[in-house]
Structures are given as structure tokens and as C-alpha cells.
């Protein structure tokens, strides 16, 4: 009775999933490079490898991060994952990303052991594990309220060639591709000739059919060392009708008010900069609102923390043992500036912060509805004052979806995500 014709929404066929990326990367015009040529760097790199342990961060390779290199004695190390699950790509500017992927039953696409090697530099490991941790979808009228991560692995969509332009498909479900991302830099010099370069990303994504929605779970690894995780919602609108107070009229006339709702996406990021020890999370604020002078304020998070966004606030994961050629500690910065910052009722306390920092615990996998026995159920409960020794970051980015006529089937993708940018990983411009 609740089910039939009145509440049933018939949608047109879902068209093949369209991924918003242009065809594969063509030969890129690489702009003028820094003084040190690749050959010289390779020699230096080999040197660094053979005498590795002796250089804890000294300026080994001139322009690049002098990160510690593990055991020098071993020859031809075996990668942590076999070829099908391995991504190892050197982008046109020489930056190299390596990682392993896994389609887990619960979290779906999970990336692990992410290592970045700047152009001509030595490798630095960034993330031990990174995955989606929840997509919470509360409707404006109060219900329904979905926690969309079920058994994600089983909802992965087999990708067609057209879904993965210019890339390679892995075991049907994962696309690995490269795509241009516009200007890496553009500068005119005094003679007017100028210098310019185009940047590119390694992109790894999978798509999941979660009810009406198709979610594209994407990770972009840039040639400048940045990582951009994002989720695109496409497929179909749920088709829930509501009153004009909680929806927007779509279709002909003003009879069908499509229910507004929010997609609250959570990511779990286990940073391990060159191993699990030594990682520290810092929060940066700039005091002096309404005055001419601004002052930097650094807060070191020594205990598990829940934090909210601020206009100029950012965080970074820094490892002081690992230094670049300028002797500055290597770090990755979290910029979470594109969130609608949904705040739910008291029984959804996990919605009340934009970033959580917890100490690593293997049973803490999802931000809500955590499936592990003898473990807290949501990320707000993971934060219980523990001292941080191996920090895990949980980033919450929200998108308020008020449907439009343009959202008719197949619904155009709406994206939400954040950026992880290197700060002092290389001593100079990574190009």
C-alpha cells in the first residue's frame, strides 16, 4: 500500500555512466625545467639508495626532498601488492605515484601504501590506507536518514571502456587513468617569452550503485604532490515527494516537490609519513579579525580531537624526522573549504565536526555504523582523549542537494571533496 503506483517513480533508463574527464592525456608541453637534469638526479638517487641510512634528511638530491631511504642492502625489493592491484605511474613532469588498491566488501575502493616520489627525488610514503568511511544522507523533512555505506564492494559497477577514457580497467571495477588539469604554472619573464607548463593527475576511481544514486569514488594524485579525494553523485534522484517547505518543484508544473537532502561524505585517512611513527597533526589559525595585522597560531594536537572548519583554518600532518633539502619538515595539509557543514540532531553527533583526529585502531573503519564488535560505533565516539601516537584523520564534507529540473535522468554528477596538498615536501617547485 505504501509501495505502489502513487509512490513509485519511473525513471528513464540510466545511460552509461559518464565520467567528467576528457580523453586520455596527450603529449604534454612541458615547460622549462629546473636547472638539474634528470640524468644527474638519477645518479644522485642511486647514490642515496646505496648508502641510504646515513642520510636522515640531508640535502641529498639538491632540489628535492631528502627523505630517508629504507635498508640499502636489499636488492630489487618486491612490491607490497601484485601487478593487478598495483598502480605505479610516472606523470609527464617526472612525479611518480605508487599505491595498492583493494575492493573491500564493506568500504569498497580502498587505497593503500601510497608513495609519492617528486621529480628526481626520493620516495616518501604518505598514506597507509585511505577509503570512504560513510555517506550519510538525511532528508530535510527529517526522514529518511540513510547511511549509504552498506556492503560497498558488492555494489561496484563493472566499468565499460567509455567509463574509463584513456585509462586501464582493473578487474572490471577500477579505472586507472591520467588526465590534464590545466596550468601547473604560467609566468612571463622580462623578455616577454614566458614560462608555462601544464599539469596532470593520476586518477583512480570506482563507481557504486547505492540505491537510486550512482556514486563515483575518485582519487586524483597530482604531479605536484597533491591528492584530491572526491565523490560524485549521479544516477537518479530518489524521487521522494515532499511539501514545498522541504523540496523544490521539478518536472512540469508545481506538483512534484523533490525532497531536499544532504550528502555527508566521510573519508578515513591513515597517514604514515615514512612509517607510522613521528606523525603529528597541527592546526593553523590566523588571529586578528578586524585588524590590519594577522598572526599565525599553531596548535599541536596531542590528543584525539574533533575540529570544525574555519575560514582560514587548515591542518597538516607533519613528520619532523623527515626533512626536505631546506631542512624543513615534510608535511601534507588538509584543506576542507567546500563543505555545507551540515549539523544534525544530538543523536547524530558525528555530523557536528568537519575533521576528527583519532589514534590508529584497526577496528575503527567507518565514521558511522562501524561494523566491528567491541569497538565504538561512530567517529565522534572514537575521540575519547587518547594520546595521539599514530594519527588517523577523518574528513567530513557535506553537500546540500536541492534538486533542479536539470537533475532529471540521468542526473548530472555533483561533486564534493577536499584537497591534501604537500607543504615542504620538496624544497622547490615540484616541476
Amino acid at each position: 500500500m505504501f509501495l505502489l503506483p502513487p509512490l513509485m517513480r519511473f525513471f528513464a533508463f540510466l545511460l552509461p555512466l559518464a565520467v567528467g574527464s576528457p580523453p586520455g592525456l596527450r603529449a604534454l608541453p612541458v615547460g622549462s625545467r629546473a636547472a638539474s637534469g634528470p640524468r644527474r638526479l638519477r645518479v644522485v638517487l642511486a647514490l642515496a639508495l646505496c648508502c641510504a641510512t646515513a642520510f636522515p634528511g640531508a640535502g641529498i638530491a639538491g632540489a628535492v626532498a631528502g627523505t630517508t631511504v629504507t635498508r640499502g642492502a636489499q636488492a630489487a625489493p618486491t612490491p607490497p601488492c601484485s601487478a593487478s592491484y598495483r598502480v605505479d605511474r610516472t606523470l609527464p613532469n617526472g612525479a611518480r605515484w605508487r599505491l595498492c588498491w583493494e575492493m573491500r566488501n564493506i568500504e569498497g575502493l580502498t587505497l593503500g601504501r601510497v608513495v609519492y616520489t617528486p621529480r628526481g627525488g626520493t620516495p616518501v610514503s604518505v598514506l597507509r590506507s585511505a577509503a570512504l568511511a560513510q555517506i550519510h544522507v538525511p532528508y530535510d523533512k527529517g526522514s529518511p536518514r540513510f547511511h549509504d555505506i552498506g556492503a560497498m564492494g558488492y555494489t561496484a559497477i563493472p566499468l565499460q571502456a567509455a567509463d574509463c577514457p584513456g585509462g586501464e580497467r582493473r578487474e572490471q571495477f577500477v579505472c586507472v587513468t591520467t588526465r590534464p588539469r590545466g596550468h601547473a604554472y604560467l609566468k612571463s619573464d622580462e623578455e616577454g617569452s614566458g614560462r608555462t607548463a601544464q599539469g596532470s593527475d593520476l586518477v583512480v576511481f570506482a563507481a557504486f550503485q547505492l540505491g537510486w544514486y550512482t556514486y563515483i569514488v575518485e582519487w586524483a594524485f597530482s604531479d605536484d604532490g597533491a591528492i584530491a579525494p572526491r565523490v560524485g553523485a549521479t544516477g537518479s534522484l530518489a524521487g521522494f515527494t515532499t511539501t514545498p517547505r522541504h523540496g523544490w518543484p521539478i518536472g512540469v508544473g508545481s506538483k512534484h516537490f523533490e525532497a531536499s537532502h544532504t550528502h555527508n561524505v566521510f573519508w578515513r585517512l591513515d597517514f604514515d609519513i615514512q612509517g607510522r611513527t613521528g606523525d603529528v597533526v597541527e592546526q593553523y589559525d590566523f588571529t586578528g579579525a578586524g585588524t590590519a595585522r594577522r598572526t599565525i597560531k599553531r596548535t599541536v594536537l596531542t590528543r584525539e580531537t574533533r575540529a570544525v572548519n574555519g575560514r582560514a583554518r587548515w591542518w597538516r600532518v607533519v613528520d619532523r624526522r623527515i626533512r626536505n633539502a631546506d631542512r624543513h619538515p615534510v608535511s601534507w595539509e588538509i584543506e576542507n573549504s567546500g563543505s555545507a557543514e551540515y549539523r544534525g540532531p544530538a543523536n547524530e553527533a558525528f555530523t557536528r565536526a568537519d575533521l576528527y583526529v583519532t589514534d590508529y585502531r584497526s577496528c575503527e573503519r567507518l565514521a558511522t555504523t562501524n561494523p566491528a564488535p567491541r569497538c565504538a560505533k561512530s567517529v565522534d565516539r572514537y575521540v575519547n582523549g587518547e594520546r595521539l601516537t599514530d594519527p588517523v584523520l577523518w574528513v567530513n564534507v557535506d553537500y546540500h542537494h536541492v534538486a533542479r529540473d536539470e537533475d532529471s535522468d540521468p542526473m548530472p554528477t555533483h561533486w564534493q571533496g577536499f584537497r591534501i596538498t604537500p607543504r615542504d615536501v620538496t624544497a622547490r617547485n615540484p616541476y
Binding site: 509501495l3 517513480r9 635498508r71 618486491t78 612490491p79 564493506i106 608513495v115 565499460q160 540505491g211 521522494f240
Partner: protein, 242 residues
């Protein structure tokens, strides 16, 4: 179009067994695991590789051994097996540069649910040793529904006096005839936990294993089943009011 057929076909592939011990092994035969098992067999997986088909089978057998009886009666089901991805306490390397890569010790976590007592048991299986090395049991923790559970939920829905008839009619409208079985429907289950906003008749779902079931008809259309909750512990359907 082709893709939808694939999805439906995948759902249909495991549908033959309606109950009994065979059911518990169904999850391994579908989804990403299916592709893996069908592909080239990786004899010795690397530390960060997903579980191989053989490893999943082994983990299922080891984790089920002590629950055989409860599983054959259908009271306990093995939901799925997930690779244990804990970091080694001393491990520091990511494995790329020849450092001490953790994960070399292959572990599998088998999720088993007891619908009679509403308890979740997770058994960690050491794949090399072929034995259970850790077991955690708890009430009130609901991991995502398995594929076999979605099918059971759809069977309960089809068996419901009013709602079942509704589903059949909707199906017949687009397919030209009623579904032969629950496996003809495209299914997607999400755990349902009652809250102040959504509860009503489904308050028993605070302890029971309950799910929302989304039903996709041939042609890709979804039924609005958002008010329907399937209680797997009580084998009942609740209808939410909001």
C-alpha cells in the same frame, strides 16, 4: 543496458539455494570476489593483495567449523570474509623499498551473525596456520547486509500479503509477467536502526537485524521501498510512518 543485465545476472547467479548451509558460502561467489576467483589465480598473494578466492574459501571453512550445526539450521550465517588489514605493531615500511612490509601475515575476518540470539561474531583466521586466532562477539553491532541476506529479505517481502502483491504487480507492468523468484529483482540492502525520527513499528530493530531493501525492476526503475523495513531476526516486515 548491458550493464543492468550484468547486475541482474549477478544477483540471479546465486539464487538457486534458498536455505541451508550452502547459503553461507554464497557471498564469495559474487561481486568483486567472483571476478577475482574467475581471473588468473594468484598462487602466492603479496602482503597488500586482496584475499584470493582460495583464501576466502579456506577462511570460510575454518571460521564455520565450530558453527556447523547452527549454520545448517539457518540460525547462523556467515555474511562475508574481509581481509584483516591491521598494521603490524613493529612494522614501519610500506613495502615498496624493501623495508619490513607489514601484512605479510595473511589474516581474514569472517563475519557470522546469529539471528536467534542477535549476536555478531567476527573470527579472525590465520590463513597460513588455518586456524581461528581471535574471536570477538557482541550484541547490537550490525555489519552491512550480505547478498544472501538481501535475497532472504526480498523473499520475505514477496511473501507479505499486501506488499508482495504490490511488488509483483509493479514487476509485471514492466516485465510482462510476475517475477519467478526474488532473484529476478535487483536488490540493495542497508541496515536499518530505529531513531527518534524513524522508528514506529520497527522499534524491535534496536536489537534485531533489520534492513531497508531497495528493489530495482527490469529496465532500471526503483520501487519506493524507503518505508519498508525487513526484520531478519523476526522474519517480519515493518512499515515505517513518516
Amino acid at each position: 543496458m548491458g550493464r543492468r543485465r550484468v547486475v541482474v545476472a549477478i544477483v540471479g547467479a546465486g539464487a538457486v539455494a534458498a536455505a541451508g548451509v550452502v547459503l553461507s558460502f554464497l557471498p564469495a561467489e559474487r561481486g568483486p570476489r567472483a571476478a577475482r576467483a574467475a581471473g588468473t589465480a594468484v598462487s602466492t598473494p603479496a602482503p597488500a593483495d586482496p584475499l584470493t578466492g582460495a583464501e576466502i574459501e579456506r577462511a570460510e571453512a575454518v571460521a564455520s567449523a565450530v558453527s556447523r550445526q547452527a549454520m545448517s539450521s539457518g540460525r547462523v550465517r556467515l555474511l562475508y570474509v574481509e581481509r584483516g588489514d591491521d598494521k603490524d605493531p613493529g612494522g614501519s615500511g610500506d613495502g615498496w623499498e624493501g623495508g619490513s612490509s607489514d601484512g605479510g601475515h595473511r589474516l581474514a575476518e569472517a563475519y557470522l551473525y546469529d539471528y536467534g540470539t542477535d549476536t555478531l561474531t567476527v573470527r579472525t583466521v590465520d590463513l597460513a596456520g588455518g586456524r581461528v586466532v581471535k574471536e570477538t562477539v557482541s550484541h547490537g553491532v550490525q555489519p552491512p547486509p550480505s547478498k544472501a541476506e538481501e535475497l532472504t529479505a526480498a523473499e520475505l517481502l514477496l511473501a507479505h500479503s499486501k506488499l508482495g502483491e504490490g511488488v509483483r504487480r509493479a514487476y509485471a507492468l514492466v516485465a510482462g509477467g510476475p517475477p519467478r523468484s526474488a532473484s529476478d529483482l535487483g536488490l540493495r540492502g542497508l541496515i536499518f536502526t530505529p531513531s527518534q525520527e524513524e522508528g514506529g513499528a520497527a522499534t524491535r530493530c534496536a536489537t534485531h537485524r533489520c534492513m531497508r531493501l531497495f528493489v530495482r525492476l527490469p529496465g532500471g526503475r526503483w520501487l519506493d521501498t524507503s518505508r519498508i523495513v525487513v526484520d531478519l531476526s523476526a522474519k517480519k516486515i515493518h512499515v515505517l510512518e513518516w
